[in-house]
Amino acid sequence: MPGISGRMSTVVKSKISRLLDKAEDPGETLDYSYQKQLEQLQNVKRGIADVVTAKKRLQAQEQTIQQQVVKLDTQARQALAVGQEDLARTALERKNVAQTELQTLDQQIQELQQQQENLTDSEQKLRSKIEAFRTKKEVIKAQYSAAEAQVRISEAATGVGEQMADVGLAMQRAVDKTDQMKARANAVQELEAAGTFDDLTALGSGEDDIDRQLRELSSSTAVDDELAKMKAELGGGASTAGELAAGSAEPTAEEPPSDQESGSDAPSIEAPAFEEPEQ
């Protein structure tokens, strides 16, 4: 049959016949085939281990970036509380980029998970075929003359050979995809390195290239919206600014004594003495 299937079949079959041509003696063919099959199975196991490693690496990055998102959000609030709106904006822009990265990472982790499942499935199929081949090998040795054995070996080895070629193809595709993701993961790591700013004041002065890139990148409406929302939340922020300027890392750390310690997260907003007109 011509068409997609015809061409693919021809290629696979020529590979299998090359494999079978390697030995003339039936016994030798059997041993050679079986040995090749076991080698291939080891390769598949290594391939699965590689995919699992790549997946774990991406999952670790995902966690780091999730922590960064929280940190950047906190930093934006702190910056806004002390009246540094530019700094708050930079933090929110970075948070935006980090969140986009999170989505990409999540997608890639799912893809790797899928690959891992496919390869595991392939490995089990190959294992079953190798086991069936091993059994058949013994039957062929015991029951058939050399001439008959040659025919039987071809039949059995063709099935395993095709499965091996197929697993080889699945492996190649998994490796290609994993390589693409490794490149992506490296790019994410660079972002991580530039991501948070540990010293709030240090960034107030100068602007590095990441800042400029971020500014260009920023879907600034999203950032503007979030900034506005944050401002509204920090409505009575003048008092908080004072506390932060006095050196508090956490807005809640130096909570003014309130009547009942009612468990509020943002006590300064609720303290009536500091209330300001809306906006």
């Binding site: 011509p2 997609i4 299937s5 590979k15 039949e155 050979g161 095709e162 190649q172």
Partner: protein, 89 residues
Amino acid sequence: MIVRIATEGQYEISDEQKLSELDTAAVAAAESGDEVTFHAAYDALLAFVRSGAQLDADHLGGSDLILPPPDVTLAEARAEFSGEGLLPN
């Protein structure tokens, strides 16, 4: 007839005429050069093959036909016709 979907498994198909029609349609779609058209046609071919009985993992026979993997791209499918092939050497 035994058909393998590469990276997936082997199926037993009886309606060879239908298989041939769908295969020809997939080739025509690939030649149209449009990824969406190609995948629609190729997915139809795969769905037909999957409607056959799947063979056990310990079945030792070869296949009469082998189809490229389900996630094959248009570029890969076209390379397949031109003779480069998908399989590693």
